[in-house]
Symmetry: C2
């Protein structure tokens, strides 16, 4: 009983089940894949695979379907990379380059992933913390209310309201703005706290309180991980014919709405470089136990990514295709982004 053929059988089972969404039996397996052995032999292999926990049968006399562990083995060792076609690549490139601003870039990336994979796309906005500060703007909005606007060099804009005790004349405000911008120019947002600290110490007495308040708001806004924004696209794909989940859509939709949790999952996954895959129960998020998540970082050509994008679908998904799509979009995205 050759080990190699057993893995061939597993690959055949995964491929067939992904295509037909029906448990696959020994007869069909020998008919559709040139294994060169009889069904009976395949049955023995299947028994071994089941013993190893790689496949399972839904009920006694139905075919086998891969388990999470089976998919894992498939993804790690058996799947062949299937690069995108040239037209597809061109389409990605042009579609992304037509974007008019950051919102548009993110939205388009989501639509690309959703359409290429036929699944749900999750795109995180370029992280505030890892990008540089371009400009800081202070705008009075109402009596005693100040709007603080942060513009990063990835083109992202963040805003916060700030209640200030006193009214500010335009001149003071202009002065403050100039000082802050001078202090912050070109720094990474993570280093900005210390730069501000130096600044406020050097301020004239009567402005120091306000300055520290502004500095606090800015650093707080940037520190607040929960403010990382993500965008979902292609949720309609969840209702497509091929997407029946055992537990129904409910838990999946609920998990997708818990953006904080979702973001935690994604960042946790993307520790390593390149494309990462998390399968079924490997996702600690309840509600995603019937789905697999394929993620990749993006955002800079020099390796360290500033944000994440991913595709989420049923464990029974086309892994090679999904991985190829996610990787391709991530690459072009990194190229298109300013900075």
């Amino acid at each position: 009983m050759s080990e190699e053929r057993r893995l061939d059988v597993l690959r055949a089972i995964v491929e067939d089940y992904v295509r037909t969404r029906e448990p696959v039996g020994s007869r069909i397996l020998t008919e559709r894949h040139k294994l060169g052995v009889s069904p009976a032999t395949v049955r023995n292999d299947m028994a071994a695979l089941e013993e190893a926990g790689l496949i399972a049968q839904p009920h006694t006399s139905a075919g086998r379907i891969p388990t999470d562990k089976g998919y894992r083995l498939f993804v790690d060792q058996l799947a062949e990379v299937r690069p995108l076609t040239v037209p597809q690549k061109r389409a990605i490139e042009t579609f992304l380059s037509e974007a008019v601003d950051l919102d548009d870039v993110v939205a388009r990336a989501g639509r690309l992933i959703a359409q290429l994979t036929g699944q749900v796309a999750v795109v995180q906005y370029p992280s505030l913390r890892r990008s540089g500060l371009r400009h800081l703007e202070l705008v009075p909005t109402a009596e005693g209310r100040l709007l603080v606007v942060v513009i990063t060099d990835t083109g992202r804009v963040e805003q916060r309201f700030l209640d200030v005790p006193v009214n500010l004349d335009d001149w003071t405000l202009g002065d403050l703005r100039a000082r802050f911008n001078a202090a912050a120019a070109g720094h990474r947002l993570t280093e900005i706290g210390t730069a501000f600290a130096r600044l406020t110490e050097a301020m004239p007495e009567e402005q120091r309180a306000l300055a520290t308040a502004v500095a606090e708001v800015v650093t707080a806004a940037l520190a607040e991980e929960s403010e990382e924004r993500i965008v979902l696209t292609g949720q309609a794909n969840l209702a497509r014919s091929g997407m029946r989940f055992e537990q129904g859509l409910r838990p999946v939709l609920e998990a997708l709405e818990e953006q904080v949790v979702l973001l935690g999952l994604l960042t946790e996954m993307s520790d390593e470089a390149g494309v990462a895959v998390s399968i079924g129960h490997e996702n600690r998020v309840a509600g995603l136990s019937e789905t697999s998540v394929v993620t990749s970082g993006y955002g800079s050509s020099d390796g360290d990514s500033v944000a994440i994008l991913s595709s989420i679908g049923p464990t029974r998904m086309d892994y090679p295709g999904t991985i190829a799509a996610v990787r391709a979009v991530a690459r072009y995205l990194s190229r298109v982004l300013p900075g």
Copy 2:
């Protein structure tokens, strides 16, 4: 056969069907509602209501369910306003007032609607065109590239890149910024074009080209209706038990992803002041023919709204409750927003 009782019967049918989600027959009707007549009499009334197209039976010998037309009559004439409880109102107020910025306000409003109604919430960002200009900022980002940032008095920030032929020194930029802000201060964005036209004419020759370019970008950005952004919340509610649609979730989810179309529907509905309801096939949007949409404008205390929020659910929805929730959130939202 009194006309009045017929309407009582219709109201009873709607209320029962909304509660139980099962076709309601004459017997149960007389048991659960004190109509003071026998089932046989009710049957006659029901026959008349069916003749009038207000109710229908899914198949022979099942109870009746209201038609779109029936719901319409119910909403227009029969539904009694059911104000929110005091705790609910307090909850809305505090939850909204805890928001830290505009994104957060919009997100919280969505969550409120989704939770109060148990349906999908759609919240439009405060419209650019109908709000006033607070501040215009010009930021150089790279050689020959200028970032134009528009801040409205509702706190919304819009950004556009602009390629300029020459490099600008800080002083020219500061001067330009000052001039634009002086010209635009307090104007509605729709009137801003003319204000800018006057400004550019009065400019010194060598700056006029740049000034007109900036003016063009700003007005173009504001004219672009497609940039109106909306946020969806509570899509998980679509998968709740009470939400079975005849055609499945697919068309509904697809319709919700067509943000342009959806926005068109909402703006079309909210022509009139106050809360508007669109029922079933009244929605021209394909895919929403099994749903009803309850919308209200929000955003200013003096009547004319700057944006829209709404709740979308099955035609079989709790209209009084939904209307009350939408109205309440819209009101508090208007109060909380700056401006």
